[in-house]
Amino acid sequence: MDATIAAILVQDGVVNGAVYALLALCLVLVFAVTRIVLIPQGEFVAYGALSYAALDEGRVPGSAWLLAGLGIAAFAAGLAHERRASWPRILPRLAGECLVLQAISIAAAFVLAPLRLGPWMDALLTLALVTPMAPCLYRLAFQPLAQASVLVLLIAAVGVHLAMVGLGLVFFGAEGYRGPAFLDASFSAGPLTISAQAIVILLATLLIMGSLAAFFEATLAGRALRAVAVNRLGARLVGISAAGSGRLAFTLAGFIGALSGVLIAPLTTIYFDSGFIIGLKGFVAAIIAGMASYPGAVAAALVVGLVEAFAAFWASPFKEVIVFTVIIPVLLLRSLASVPGEDEE
């Protein structure tokens, strides 16, 4: 190994780490607000990548039908959850969130997909199709369980993950797809060749992290999310809806997941079941950060990306083993450092 190879590996690790960082941020966010370990995070990545690839071919992606189905199911679940007497009060908002928004996205996909307006438009349509699935999923699967223990929520998340993988097969098919790059260019910097897509990924990650920071610091909704994360009961006492916060957190997770999918679609072939392993690497980073610290999650994600790149060079048959083994010393250290009885449950 010489300096050139090391530099190439670092570049590779940082780009992959940036995607894991986005996923780790979502996991930390959703866990803080709802106590759900969002196992299905990877599925948003796969759905995003597959929708983007389908739109690139001028087809309406299967996610349009899936979104329609989820929206209707969430609408029905929302009604069933409320007393009949309060239907007139909640109906406009519920219909708006579960039906109207979805209908607009789907209509846009049907009108714009055959026109093939290029990668940027495809990316926007993908985000419009995949993001609204997340709050619908929250309404369907998690809102009725909001008071359950972390373990029950985890099991529900595993169930949602399995269901989403199956639905992915039905709506996207068994074949893998690869999307086009936003910019098909590359720059030379000494021995390094940096592709424009790598720069797009890094910029998008920085932009998302900056926007999230601004959102949490400067907006009412962001502060409300932070309040729920700090103290659920206290937040409710001052009038912050726990369910609304959960849906907002899921919406953010769905958006970032779909965006990650669009970003990695040009790098590799994505199958309906590819999301899990990618999400799992984000999960490793989130765990290293204790599921609590945003900057910690980002740093850990970069470490995961770098470990992966160097493990691929030195011992490629054991690459995944090495990446996932990183978690063990961290867990050991954490369990040694933590005070017994700290758990909130």
């Binding site: 590996l9 068994a174 893998g176 690869r178 199958y271 790149a309 691929a312 490629s316």
Partner: protein
């Protein structure tokens, strides 16, 4: 009272079911069970296989043939459960399946225990070799890995390749190919310069490719299946690798060319002749059979949808169609004698022309394919081209 009426109901249902079963036996329907991986990682193999089964005629030698397709989810445990269900509940006369090696290996126990002939659609030679009392009941239609590995190494030797780099999937597929290549390269006196592995879902193979390029091999073999096999090839091109790049027959799907684009131009791979059926000389008997399958498949599912994997299922059914009339001479469908006769008839098939080659079964070789079952193919201008 309700207990009594329930018992009565059950008893009458049982009598009715027995009567139905007897009636079915009189109609002498031949039941063929199919276990395919319709979901899970191997879904892209199982779905065209299921589609191919749907193209088959349902009448044969005056008997109705019923195909019962079950999904194993690319899971060996479910494949065994499916096989047991087919044998115990549907009383099948033969089983086709499963799509991948681990599932097929697990099903051998059931086939041998229940004495049902089984035709696997998975590639590994270990399914039928070494021959023993259990594998006595097992046949398979895809070419053995070793046949394909020998073809690649033969081509390498002919083109003056002295050292080879290997990058393969980090799973049973990559393992099998690495073992086969070590054997074949050793026989040919070609050096294996470096062996790297990667996962189907990897977003980058930069590390592996850097190491491969540093080993300076004359040629690189990528042992992956489907579109993920394009990733190392793109990375090799990006790093300025100019040697020959070989792929395995796992990439013989149009999606691979679609995804790989200009990076996969000039790739050399072995394949069943069906991939380039239209380019085969008319003297090749496989041409007619393979084109017939391609036309049938595309008429049913649309132009350009045919995949070589689906033809393995069709070939398995062709073997059965040849064997069933022979077996019918000695026994009736649904009996143990018929199943044994069916097995013997498959084993006795000689020079049967299939989509993937010409099978010549012997008691020791339950695949029966020889060099006529593989051609070398390259990618030229975004299409498969037969190499002389």
């Amino acid at each position: 009272m309700s207990g009594l009426s329930r018992a009565l109901l059950l008893a009458s249902a049982a009598v009715f079911a027995t009567a139905m079963g007897a009636a079915g036996a009189h109609a002498q329907t031949i039941h063929v069970g199919v276990v395919a991986s319709l979901t899970g990682p191997a879904a892209s193999l199982g779905i065209p296989q299921k589609n191919s089964i749907a193209l088959l005629p349902t009448d044969l030698a005056g008997h109705k043939v019923e195909y019962i397709v079950l999904d194993d989810g690319t899971d060996a445990t479910r494949a065994v459960a499916d096989a047991r269900k087919l044998v115990d509940e549907d009383n099948v006369d033969a089983i086709i399946g499963s799509s991948v090696t681990p599932s097929s290996l697990a099903m051998i126990d059931v086939a041998a225990e229940k004495k049902v002939p089984m035709i696997s659609m998975a590639a590994s030679e270990s399914l039928i070799k070494p021959m023993d009392a259990q594998k006595h009941w097992v046949f398979k239609t895809p070419q053995n890995d070793s046949l394909m590995a020998d073809a690649i190494v033969e081509h390498m030797a002919k083109n003056g390749v002295k050292s080879v780099g290997f990058i393969g999937f980090n799973d049973a597929y990559g393992d099998g190919w690495l073992v086969q290549m070590q054997r074949a390269l050793g026989n040919a006196g070609i050096k294996l310069a470096d062996a790297e592995r990667y996962a189907r879902t990897d977003t980058s193979v930069t590390g592996q490719v850097l190491k491969l390029v540093a080993a300076k091999p004359d040629a690189v073999l990528i042992a992956g299946s489907g579109t993920p096999a394009a990733l190392p090839q793109s990375a090799l091109k990006e790093r300025g690798y100019t040697g020959k790049i070989y792929q395995t027959h796992g990439v013989a799907v149009m999606d691979f060319i679609r995804v790989g684009g200009k990076d996969v131009e000039g790739t050399i791979l072995p394949s069943g002749p069906i991939l380039v059926a239209a380019q085969l000389p008319d003297s090749n008997p496989v041409k007619q059979v393979a084109l017939d399958y391609v036309h049938k498949y595309e008429a049913a599912y649309g132009a350009g949808t045919v995949a070589t994997f689906g033809a393995h299922a069709y070939d398995a059914a062709l073997l059965l169609q040849n064997a069933i009339p022979v077996a019918l001479k000695t026994a009736q469908p649904g009996t143990a004698e018929f199943r044994a006769a069916l097995r013997d008839a498959i084993e006795a098939e000689h020079e049967v022309v299939l989509d993937h080659g010409i099978a010549d079964m012997t008691p020791d070789d339950h695949n029966g394919f020889d060099k006529r079952a593989r051609v070398m193919v390259t990618i030229q201008n975004g299409a498969w081209k037969l190499l002389p």
